[in-house]
């Protein structure tokens, strides 16, 4: 249970970083923390303490195998989600660099031409 609470804490930290920080790069780090929290949560869903890898070798009992092995699907989901967040992260960093070229600052309170 504690580990789920800590995972939730990580999520809230990411959200805090995203909302409270004015620096573009810090905002991007906030998004990354948010992603990690959800990925961690997905991994925790599949985890069993004392579990074995989900690979069926010859001679294993299928009944005990299905009870002991960890759930492999969340790991596949996490891989996909990591690749997606990598794509988003690259987009964000490149846009942030372009913004720096135009505005000469990373401060979001100075990057505010759009109003209303």
């Amino acid at each position: 249970m504690t580990i789920y609470l800590m995972c939730f804490f990580l999520f809230v930290m990411g959200l805090y970083c995203l909302i409270a920080k004015k620096h573009l790069i810090k905002k991007i780090i906030g998004i990354a923390i948010l992603d990690y929290a959800v990925n961690l949560f997905l991994i925790l869903i599949g985890y069993k303490s004392g579990g074995i890898p989900p690979v069926l070798f010859e001679g294993m009992n299928k009944q005990t195998f299905s009870q002991q092995s960890v759930d492999p699907l969340p790991q596949a989901l996490v891989l996909t989600s990591i690749v997606i967040s990598l794509g988003v992260l690259i987009m964000m960093v490149s846009i942030a660099l372009r913004l720096y070229e135009k505005y000469k600052t990373f401060d979001t309170s100075e990057i505010s031409r759009l109003r209303g």
């Binding site: 998004i31 948010l34 759009l114 209303g116």
Partner: protein
């Protein structure tokens, strides 16, 4: 047709990667390729209309193990809108995008967005839906910032931050549903939820989904990115974003999750209705005071999506029918309005309404199609917007929501006011001195505008001819959760 169903994703995805290999000198060839791809997709969708619903198992894995693609009438409706608006925006962008560099990359991102949206609409697996959603939105982030000017980059960054938060929320919702029921197939999830009843974790997941998809669909407390992002994109992309992206990624996903996976409950009904009413009112109030043509249109997108959400939340057959009809009509008239604003910008170089005036004398095609779209969005008979708003209002009165019905009429009136302002300042009035020499847009762009204007008129008048095959069966699909479950989880020989 069943065997060809994955091509709705495969063709645009393949084309998107293929055309990046061409050098810049072959831009004309690339344009021919993307146009042919879109025409093929459109023909395939038209062949799907009226087809029996079916499901396609990728790799012959029987659900709930593998990924399932589902074709029913509501996905056909959305596919039709995506490809009509997609093809016309593409034709429009051939000329329009000449003011930007690297057209090939633009087409590639465009096709990627089409692939993502088609994927969202046809998939029957909730994680797969998330992946396609990300494909569509990542390419839209890039397209919003395509001009690489100050405002565009800023809008793109803002959109990206809020978009990533919404994706994270959606992923968290999926994770919670998976933790509770151990399946990702939407029909199988629906089955489990029906068997176990709606417990707290399902409610939490539903809240996350409504937040996440509401952010993508720009419902009012989550709307902050839209008025920046949609005007900053190039006009054909604004048309795509407002015309179909917020529908496919926002409204459609909410319909699927709320009606088919979790099932409509009283509390969801209240939440969706309040979201809808809020969007409707706030959107239109913010729109009235705008002087930037495209920003005004973007606020109206929020307001009109509010109408759709009210109809969806009402959950009576007539309300859903009105919502789906309004969704289709909004795709036509809002795309047309954005393309008109692009045409005006193409000729005059400005988006500020105060600097325009008297465009009718110089640009008759653009002006008249813009007028038709304005009449449609304000709900003047006989254009399409009138009929769908009428359906929603009748549905509200039937369900005895008199106050909301009155608000709906009031919002419609305010919409009319703000579009009279647009007409007064752009089309009529006196032509300013520096705009004396402007010309009408090129023929291809003009043709696209005329086609959209005709669609606006016909989709209202010809309802008796297509309403049954396109919209009414879509409504029946939305309501019938059991039929959806049976469609996917059928026993496979």
């Amino acid at each position: 047709m069943q065997q060809l169903y994955p091509l709705f994703v495969a063709i645009p995805l393949g084309v998107a990667f293929l055309i990046l290999l061409f050098p810049k000198s072959l831009t004309k060839l690339v344009e021919v390729i993307v146009a042919i791809a879109e025409i093929i997709l459109l023909i395939m969708v038209i062949a799907l209309i009226g087809h029996e619903p079916f499901s396609y198992f990728i790799g012959k894995w029987i659900p709930p193990i593998g990924i399932t693609l589902v074709s029913d009438s509501i996905s056909t409706l959305l596919l039709l809108l995506i490809n009509i608006v997609g093809l016309l925006s593409l034709l429009y962008s051939f000329k329009y995008m000449e003011m930007y560099t690297s057209k090939i990359r633009f087409y590639s991102l465009f096709m990627l967005m089409v692939a993502g949206m088609s994927g969202v609409v046809i998939t029957g697996d909730i994680f797969n839906l998330f992946v396609f959603l990300e494909i569509a939105t990542i390419s839209s982030y890039a397209l919003v910032g395509f001009g690489c000017e100050h405002e565009e980059l800023e809008a793109s960054f803002k959109y990206m931050i809020l978009g990533s938060v919404s994706s994270t929320l959606i992923l968290l919702g999926i994770a919670i549903l998976y933790a509770t029921f151990g399946t990702l197939n939407m029909a199988d999830l629906a089955n489990s939820i029906l068997a176990n009843g709606i417990n707290r974790s399902v409610l939490f997941a539903e809240g996350l989904f409504i937040m996440g998809f509401g952010l993508k669909g720009a419902m009012v407390p989550f709307h902050a990115w839209l008025p920046d992002a949609h005007p900053s994109a190039p006009a054909p992309i604004s048309a795509m974003l407002s015309g179909v992206l917020i529908k496919a990624c926002g409204i459609y996903a909410i319909i699927r999750v709320v009606y088919h996976v979790i099932g409509m409950t009283n509390i969801t009904h209240i939440i969706l209705m309040s979201l809808g009413v809020l969007s409707m009112v706030v959107g239109v109030l913010l729109a009235v005071g705008q002087w930037d043509f495209k920003r005004l249109l973007a606020y109206h997108s929020i307001s009109q999506m509010g109408y759709v959400m009210v109809g969806i939340g009402l959950a009576t057959p007539l309300g859903i029918l009105g919502a789906l009809f309004h969704l289709m009509n909004h795709a036509f008239f809002k795309s047309l309005l954005f393309l008109c604003s692009g045409a005006v910008e193409y000729s005059t170089g400005t988006r500020n309404l105060k600097e325009m005036g008297g465009l009718f004398k110089r640009m008759p095609v653009t002006s008249s199609s813009c007028s038709i779209a304005s009449l449609s969005i304000s709900g003047i008979p006989p254009f399409n917007g009138f009929w769908s708003k009428l359906l929603i209002i009748i549905a509200l009165v039937q369900a005895e929501y008199y106050a909301i019905a009155a608000v709906t009429v009031g919002v419609s009136f305010l919409t009319l006011v703000s579009f009279i302002k647009v007409q007064r300042y752009s089309i009529f009035g006196d032509l300013p001195e520096k705009l004396k020499n402007i010309k009408e847009v090129p023929v291809l762009m003009g043709t696209v505008l005329v086609i959209f204007a005709v669609l606006c008129l016909l989709s209202g008048l010809l309802y008796p001819f297509f309403g049954n095959t396109l919209l009414e069966i879509a409504r029946d699909t939305v309501i019938d959760q059991q039929k959806y479950i049976q469609l996917v989880l059928q026993v496979v020989p």
